[in-house]
């Protein structure tokens, strides 16, 4: 190989220019206006860790209470709040945000790009999470926490049995955090599919990118049922719409279906990112490559698919027919197959390599020892008769802690140690990490083995105390004592990482000898990531070309030209990774945090009955969102630009499929699942709930039906015609007016449903009709706003772009299609009754 003499001058000049373009505001306010993935990810990670500490303290309270029988430490009221909050904080405020934080930090580097696809959306997600999470914690400190268990079964969580705002804090706080998770998921999917190094085809992607892609799609499909469930329960609590009240046609089982439709995939949403980290770190620690890359990708995908077929296994004791149980039992055991493929792929990888026992590897061994046990008790739980006995005992508690701590927390600690040099530029030099490991892992096993046994001896979960003489005293005392040792261990881990972050040794690039692109960046990774977009020719770019980091720094990849003086990234074709477009990324801005403030206000104001404030904030959301879009859209067309290596590429905003189109597509996937859940709920109540059919039906009249049909057709056709008119340079006014007419007709048809049935609190049928009509009305309003934006762009003389018209067209199609389905579901039963 011929080595060029190092041209430090070029690299340094490029570094300075890119730093100027990409760096955040150096003043304190920079933290509020930055949208760089390094800053967002760090804040995300710090906040998620803080919530882990809070959840851990709550766990200590639980174990202190259970250490002795008849404990007077807490009464049932306090205990019920504490265990509900422990579950809620760990699942929603720690587990999901923590891996999202790591993905935000690491994904651009792994993929060889400079930032995530929608940097501002990421900031927005971060702040919504911080505000929502803080509200939940503040409510807890005021003694106003939910106390119905983290899965909030109605009617216990309904207004009649949970007066006060505890349940509302849960529903509104958690929903806002789910909105943030969906924002991040959209960002991740579009980044993985479109923003990569040149030549990085799907099969050359680092394994973590595959895992996180699967997880993000799962978030988009699993969270909407939960959001719908929260919406139903909150409208029942606030407005009396009887979705779960049996007397008026509701059914509490509906909640359980919606909750576990989310809740089971959620377990894999948490496990798969950890598995992705294992598959990334393990081969490096063993100085080899992952055995069976394709197998592992297939296993991750099939695990995701299977996980949506098992929600009923949380409901084995609800009286579901045995044949149904047989199906779900088989599906539940089947999920062990892809897991086993992953486990043996990893052991096979260790087998063919030479393992170095560094700290990340130690934690991965902790994962193996723990997770395999958790998986085996999971298989036991999938066996129906066994489940009937141990359901809702401490056996289940022990099982889920084995899976979640062993399968998630241990690998994540390994990941933090592994990536610390990259993120902070500092190296671990201290023995404290190993000490912490030997405190945490043995103490964990002692704690939860004891909890397993006490569960088999019949101790129920969620009982605030227990009597002497049942043989549980010693086991509980052992579990509590060991759990405190474990807590000290976790505190040492955090301390150790903190010490290294601020005082570790500086070191050279790629200390572990990794093969993937993120290690080609300087350490610590600068705001711009790569000085030029790398060109890769294989799955292990740093093995294929050890000189790659220097060449990237010298600007020998794509987009090394800084003369356009703006943040640019490369968009590639989804499957082959061929350079396709140049994305222009937005600069620092206070808009995302402003939007997060108004969004959170509209979510949280109902807690103090400030509905007017909530409505006002909603108007604020629309205004800020419009300003955001308006100011981001480019003013002039620039045609093809020079991307380096002789490539002249269009700017993304001028392409027919700009990033916004892809983002809308995946957001609509989530929206579609939400709508599907709504239809499922309606059909479920109709067929399963007692007190159906309703006393009377909605009988449609001709005019609304015609309005709906005509409106849907106009709404589907209008934006298409507009897009075509823009492409061919014709006038767009007529097409926009046609679309507007369509949206308004559809909204009128939806309003007719509400006018005909004026009492949504009377029967679940009417409440469901209002929600169906509400879905149509909401999306029609959204379409009107988007059309108004297009019209404004046209009037102000900025000109329309095909991409923008196609984005609106996507939303309009969705509105027209689901609108027709929703209205048909509202009208058809009455027509044939």
């Amino acid at each position: 190989m011929t080595q060029k003499p190092p041209r430090r001058g070029t690299a340094l000049r490029l570094h300075r220019q890119l730093e100027r373009i990409w760096s955040p505001d150096p003043r304190f306010r920079g933290w509020l206006t930055t949208n760089n993935n390094n800053d967002v990810g760090r804040l995300f990670l710090a906040v998620a860790t803080l919530f882990f500490v809070i959840g851990g303290l709550l766990a200590m309270l639980i174990r202190a209470q259970l250490a002795t029988p008849g404990s007077a430490f807490m009464g049932p009221e306090a205990y019920n709040q504490v265990f509900t909050m422990h579950g809620t904080v760990m699942m929603f405020l720690f587990a999901i945000p923590f891996f999202e934080a790591l993905a935000v930090l690491l994904l651009p580097g792994m993929l060889g790009t400079r930032d995530l696809a929608f940097p501002r959306l990421g900031v927005y997600g971060l702040w919504v999470y911080i505000f929502g999470g803080s509200a939940v914690i503040v409510a807890m400190l005021m003694g106003l926490s939910p106390d119905g268990g983290w899965f909030m079964y109605p009617p216990l969580s309904s207004a009649a049995f949970s007066p006060g705002i505890g349940a509302d804090v849960w529903l509104l706080g958690i929903t806002s955090i789910e909105v943030s998770a969906i924002a991040t998921a959209v960002e991740i999917v579009v980044t993985v599919l479109r923003y990569r190094a040149a030549g990085m085809s799907l099969s050359r992607m680092p394994i973590f990118a595959w895992y996180i892609l699967v997880v993000a799609v799962m978030i988009l499909t699993a969270f909407p049922p939960m959001i719908l469930g929260s919406l139903l329960l909150e409208t029942e609590r606030a407005l009396g719409w009887p979705f779960f009240q049996v007397e008026n046609g509701g059914d509490p089982l509906l909640w359980q279906h919606l909750f576990w439709l989310f809740g089971h995939p959620e377990v894999y949403i948490i496990f798969l990112p950890a598995a992705g980290m294992i598959a990334t770190i393990l081969p490096v620690m063993a100085r080899t490559t992952l055995l069976g890359y394709g197998w592992v990708v297939a296993a991750a995908v099939s695990l995701a698919v299977l996980s949506f077929g098992l929600w009923v296994h949380h409901m084995f004791t609800t009286g579901i027919p045995h044949l149904g149980l047989a199906f779900f039992s088989a599906a539940s055991t089947l999920v062990a197959v892809p897991t086993s493929i992953m486990i043996f792929s990893w052991i096979g990888t260790l087998w063919k390599g030479r393992v170095q026992m560094k700290l990340p590897m130690l934690w991965l061994l902790g994962f193996f020892a723990t997770f395999v046990i958790g998986g085996l008790t999971g298989v036991m739980l999938a066996i129906v008769p066994f489940n009937w006995q141990v359901h809702d005992t401490h056996f289940v508690v022990a099982h889920l802690h084995y899976v979640l701590i062993g399968g998630y927390v241990f690998p994540m600690i390994a990941a933090v140690y592994y990536f610390q040099p990259l993120l902070t530029g500092r190296f671990h030099y201290f023995r404290l990490g190993a000490v912490a490991f030997w405190l945490v892992v043995p103490a964990f096993h002692i704690t939860f083995l004891a909890v397993h046994v006490v569960g088999l001896l019949g101790q129920r979960r969620r009982t605030w105390t227990y009597d002497e003489g049942q043989g549980w005293e010693l086991l509980n005392l052992i579990a509590s004592t060991a759990s405190f040792v474990m807590a000290i261990g976790f505190a040492l881990v955090i301390l150790d990482i903190g010490i290294t972050t601020f005082s570790g040794l500086r070191g050279k690039r790629n200390p572990w000898g990794a093969t993937t692109l993120e290690w080609a960046a300087p350490m610590p990774s600068p705001a711009y990531g790569f000085a030029s977009i790398p060109i890769v020719r294989g799955r292990y770019p740093l093995t294929d070309d050890p000189d790659l980091p220097q060449r990237i720094a010298r600007g020998e990849g794509y987009l090394a030209d800084t003369s356009r003086n703006r943040r640019e990234a490369l968009i590639v074709t989804t499957t082959t990774g061929k350079p396709l477009q140049v994305a222009v990324m937005p600069g620092n801005s206070a808009l995302p945090i402003l939007l997060a403030v108004v969004t959170s206000t509209s979510f949280l104001a109902p807690l103090v009955q400030a509905y007017w404030l909530s409505a006002l904030a909603l108007v604020g959301v629309v205004i800020v969102a419009l300003v955001w879009v308006w100011t981001t859209a480019p003013r002039q067309s620039e045609g093809l630009v020079d991307a380096g290596h002789g490539a002249r590429l269009p700017v993304a905003a001028e392409s027919p499929d700009p990033p916004g189109w892809w983002g809308s597509l995946f957001l609509l996937v989530a929206d579609g699942v939400h709508f599907g859940s709504l239809m499922f709920g309606y059909a479920f109540l109709w067929t399963v709930a007692p007190n159906w059919p309703p006393p009377s039906y909605l009988v449609p009249t001709l005019l609304p039906v015609l309005l709906a049909l005509g409106g849907a057709a106009a709404l589907a056709a209008g934006p298409r015609l507009a897009a075509r008119a823009v492409a061919t340079g014709h006038r767009t006014a007529l097409a926009l007016v046609l679309s507007l007419f369509g949206a308004l007709s559809l909204a009128t048809a939806a309003a007719s449903v509400m006018l005909a049935r004026q009492d949504p609190a009377g029967h679940a049928y009417d409440a469901a009709l209002w929600l169906l009509a509400g879905h149509v009305g909401f999306h029609a309003a959204l379409a009107v706003i988007m059309l108004g934006y297009l019209a404004l762009r046209r009037i102000s003389g900025h000109g329309l772009r095909v991409g923008e018209a196609r984005i609106v067209s996507l939303w309009a199609d969705f509105t027209a299609a689901t609108g027709l389905v929703a209205l048909a579901a509202a009208w058809l039963p009455g027509t044939f009754a």
């Binding site: 049932p76 019920n80 268990g149 079964y153 109605p154 009617p155 216990l156 009649a160 049995f161 049996v246 509490p252 100085r287 080899t288 490559t289 055995l291 069976g292 197998w295 004791t317 609800t318 009286g319 045995h322 047989a326 039992s329 055991t333 062990a336 197959v337 086993s340 493929i341 486990i343 043996f344 792929s345 052991i347 096979g348 260790l350 087998w351 063919k352 030479r354 393992v355 061994l365 395999v372 046990i373 085996l376 008790t377 298989v379 036991m380 999938a382 066996i383 008769p385 009937w388 006995q389 359901h391 809702d392 019949g458 129920r460 969620r462 009982t463 605030w464 709930a689 007692p690 007190n691």
Partner: protein, 186 residues
């Protein structure tokens, strides 16, 4: 099940330790070993064990299912926060609070429902648990092997009184059962 699980655990950990101790002279970047690690251990091994386990579990479950028998007795159980009321269709009007009376040695169908929130009926020595849902009646088949008392409890979190929400099952010999139906609880 426990023994099988332990065997699998030992196998996996033994392979893991062997992989750690193994020090090949040169790291192997090839895909050799797919047949053993992925086809055999990853795919075939769990498929066979799980198939066997699932079939076994379903057969067990079938055996626990309620079947029609001539000497079947039906009782009702209604849960509320935080008490149980039991009724006896064989003796209309008779109701007991906190104690369920059944005949020993005969299959008993318990019709379980709830007046308010979700509860769960669980007598560990007689059967698994089954939820009490408002608006639904779930039927659980139990059979007490001998006369005596069996303790039962609610097994779905139901609010502040959850820990103390317990009940007992009193199983009678044939004579005492007839006397109970005629005269109520002693």
């Amino acid at each position: 099940m426990l023994a099988g699980s332990l065997a699998i655990l030992v196998l996996v950990l033994a392979l893991l330790i062997a992989a750690l101790l193994r020090r090949p002279a040169q790291s192997d970047d090839s895909e050799r070993g797919t047949g053993l690690w992925l086809w055999t251990l990853g795919l075939a091994f769990p498929l066979t064990t799980l198939a066997a386990l699932t079939v076994y579990g379903l057969q067990m479950g079938e055996r626990l299912l309620p079947r029609d028998t001539p000497d079947l007795v039906t009782v009702t159980a209604e849960a509320r926060q935080w008490a149980w009321t039991f009724g006896y269709p064989d003796a209309p009007g008779l109701a007991t609070d906190g104690v369920l009376h059944i005949p020993a040695g005969r299959p008993v169908d318990v019709q379980i429902t709830s007046r308010d929130v979700v509860h769960s009926f669980w007598v560990p020595r007689l059967a698994g648990k089954l939820d009490a849902l408002p608006g639904h009646v779930n039927v659980l088949r139990i059979e007490a092997p001998a006369p005596g008392t069996y303790s039962g409890q609610t097994a779905e979190f139901n609010g502040a009184g959850y820990a103390g929400h317990v009940f007992t099952v009193q199983a009678h010999d044939p004579a005492a059962w007839v006397r109970f139906l005629q005269e109520g609880p002693p």
